[in-house]
């Protein structure tokens, strides 16, 4: 039904100003950002820390209200959070009183899916994120990487129109992070979900994406929109190929300028 010319998500001239208080000055966090995300696209937003990229994602999720501009999902303007935009947070967002499978079933329960079907779906997603055998574990009994896999499964089980990820691997060690990237990419290749992924890691942004959006340091604007033309499926060792390194050099340059600017301002 969806024609290629209609974006899955349209971000239209979104501005976010954090209102000042006696102690803090007003901050322009997101400055007139427009972005069309097509169905099945995997977009990473790359930016220095504090550039407003997370704020932008939270606006798309409906967890933050934009000061002006619009966000559309399938042509309909969105207000507030909803299960059609699934979200994976940086860390510790699992419900600690629920087991792995109960966490994954949380959204399905809200939808009124019957218990037997819920169990089936949960099993499927537990397998997808390779956590078979851990269904009855509580989040506290899992490592950070496993917790984030549950968070991804929980968001996907709800079958959202778009999956939003806010630096989901940022708190993980390097080795785990690499494996998680491969897993997420594999899931995307299988399911063809539309994904918007926030990161400050250049390599991560290239490895995962069809398109990398580079944001400027505060106020956050779109600085560059770079299509990544690497083949799929992408093996982990693609990171050492000349094509990949070219992208890496280009993006590192772009992001470095912004980081320097941010540092200058911090002085």
């Amino acid at each position: 039904m969806m024609s290629m010319s209609n974006p899955k998500v349209r971000i239209d001239n979104v501005v976010k100003v954090f209102s000042g208080s006696r102690k803090h000055a007003q901050v322009l966090a997101v400055d007139h950002v427009s972005l069309d995300i097509m169905t099945n696209e995997f977009i990473t937003i790359l930016g220095p820390s504090g550039c407003g990229k997370s704020t932008l994602l939270r606006i798309v999720a409906g967890l933050e209200e934009q000061s002006s501009g619009h966000v559309y999902l399938d042509g309909q303007e969105v207000h507030g959070p909803s299960s059609n935009r699934g979200m994976v947070f940086q860390a510790y967002s699992l419900f600690p009183w629920l087991t792995v499978e109960e966490n994954i079933q949380f959204g399905l329960k809200n939808k009124g899916v019957i218990a037997a079907r819920r169990k089936e779906i949960a099993k499927e997603y537990v397998e997808l994120v390779r956590l078979t055998g851990f269904e009855k574990h509580y989040p506290k009994q899992l490592s950070g990487g496993m917790q984030q896999r549950v968070a991804i499964a929980r968001a996907l089980a709800n079958d959202p129109e778009i999956l939003l990820l806010d630096e989901p691997f940022g708190a993980l060690d390097n080795q785990t992070r690499t494996l998680m990237q491969e897993l997420l990419l594999e899931i995307w290749e299988k399911s063809n979900k539309t994904i918007l992924f926030i990161t400050h890691d250049v390599e991560e942004s290239i490895f995962l994406a069809n398109r990398v959006i580079v944001m400027t340091s505060r106020p956050g604007r779109i600085k560059a929109d770079i299509p990544i033309e690497l083949e799929h499926p992408r093996p982990y060792n693609i990171k050492t190929t000349p094509r990949f390194l070219e992208y890496k050099e280009q993006l590192t340059e772009l992001i470095r300028e912004e980081s320097l600017k941010a540092m200058q301002e911090a002085k």
């Binding site: 959070p81 909803s82 968001a155």
Partner: protein, 290 residues
Amino acid sequence: MEKVAKKQGIAEQAPLLQLQSQQNGTPKRRKWLQPQENIPYHLYLWISVSSIVILFAIWSLLTYSGIVDPLFLPTPTEIIQSGITLFTEFGFINDIAITIYRVFAGFLIAVVIGLPLGILMGTFKVVEAFFEPIISSIRYMPASAFIPLFILWIGVGEMEKITIIFVGTFFSLVLMTAVEVSNVRRELLEAAYTLGTSTFGVLRSVILPAAIPGIMETIRLILGWAWSYIIVAELVASASGIGSLILESQRMLKTSNIIFGILTIGALGLLSDLILKVAIRKMFPWNYGR
């Protein structure tokens, strides 16, 4: 030997390492006097037991030898004997029962009203803004100071005791519950919203389950206070209960009864605390994983 030689070799090459080898050379320090260092379980147990034994030994020495006047401090035997007489001849079990009844009646009312109010205060800022000023200011007025006022208002019956327990526990319970609830992580609420939970739905499906272990710990802590409030209330004006027995015993110079009464109330407090502690661990296993 070879290892030592190697070490010396390295030490010669890199002067920085000399510090390390010097440290190796210092005499071994006693492990159990290291700050914050753990000690073996058995050693810990023996030290703990010995402290009780030593206390008991000093007490026995002072009393059995007659160094201390029995009116001031009776012997352990006397206290056990008076305990037996209290139970067999003076119906002490009824005093215990009435004291427990007062504590639980007052505390139960405080929990039934205080919990929902605290949860609403922690969840909705409008509710907090309305109740916080009153509750915060009353919280610092000691419940025991209200006793004369309550006697004037409602007399010296059961209602007065229950009211004191209520006043002594309710306000702190509300505020501490509100803190527990407002400490629920924002991410959990946001995750629930993106999974389709409604604004009011999060109260039941996120806020309550997330806050309940902390709330139970609060209940456990405050129940401990209730035991001391009831004794104060019974000391001031009561014809029954452990506190009234303590006061009567003082009038009749029955030191051993006083001490037995104090030990009883201590045991009750400890017992209720232990029961709650175990129950909380059993109820919320997810909170105590690894």
